[in-house]
């Protein structure tokens, strides 16, 4: 098998698009400001003790404890890949129900899914929807799987820059 440069460039572009989408929408709807549930508070406090940022830790804890715009972007990519633009609308409904099951008002997840669907639809001429699935996994890996302390610092810095804390 060979992996062409075009595929790698498409993956990198979709990673950047997904990362920007879910970080901006989650920050705007106040994920770094306060922990929604007790579990997010535990994760934020632990990361602060390890040398990270408290508000970035709340952000990461809220991602773990409730399907927010990160899950919404993944679901939008999956359903757009399988069903087209209508699939993105169905994903919005499913993410809203999942949000409410996890004790969350549901604004971040719903708006994140809808905006991701619109962005994927606008970019679908250049980048096929399956690359957005890989790009979203890459984006969530840079936050939840690579280096937690550094990721929490970056997320706290972005939240402070946007004035949302």
């Amino acid at each position: 098998m060979e992996v062409s440069w075009v595929e790698l460039i498409k993956l990198l572009i979709s990673t950047g698009v997904c990362w920007t989408n879910f970080v901006l929408i989650d920050t705007y709807f106040g994920l770094p400001r306060k922990p929604g549930v007790l579990g997010a508070e535990v994760i934020g406090k632990t990361l602060e003790k390890m040398g990270g940022d408290l508000n970035g830790g709340y952000f990461m804890g809220n991602i773990v404890c409730s399907p927010d715009a990160s899950a919404g972007t993944l679901m939008a990519a999956i359903f757009y890949y399988l069903l087209g633009f209508k699939g993105g609308l169905i994903a919005t409904l499913l993410v809203y129900i999942g949000n409410r099951l996890c004790n969350d008002p549901g604004y971040a997840g719903t708006f994140g899914t809808f905006s991701a669907t619109v962005i994927i639809h606008l970019l679908s001429g250049f980048i096929e929807p399956r690359y957005f699935i890989g790009g979203m996994i890459m984006a969530i890996f840079t936050i939840q799987g690579l280096y937690h302390v550094g990721a929490s610092k970056v997320l706290g810095y972005i939240g402070r820059k946007l004035g949302m804390i």
Binding site: V3, V37, G39, P67, L83, I133
Partner: protein, 86 residues
């Protein structure tokens, strides 16, 4: 096998290994969250039908629900034991 499947496979392998290697319970939960994302994407990429999407969504929401409950329990246990560590 193309670039997307290869990327997701490598990431889920690395993260799955780190789940076993780390000793911190809270960090293990963060790695598991990333692993759930990867598994959900793999389900949708292998089952190329609308039902595959529904299965991926159901798996993902269920795993998030259980992560929520586990993190909540860790917080409750810390409060009962009266210590601020993990």
């Amino acid at each position: 096998m193309d670039a997307v499947l290869l990327l997701i496979g490598v990431i889920s392998f690395v993260v799955g290994l780190r789940v076993f290697l780390t000793k911190n319970r809270v960090q293990r939960l963060l790695y598991l969250c990333c692993l759930n994302f990867a598994i959900s994407a793999l389900i949708a990429l292998y089952i190329k039908s609308p039902m595959g999407g529904v299965v991926a969504a159901a798996y993902f929401i269920g795993s998030t629900l259980s992560s929520n409950a586990i993190a909540h329990t860790i917080g409750k246990v810390q409060r009962l034991e009266g210590r601020g560590e993990w």
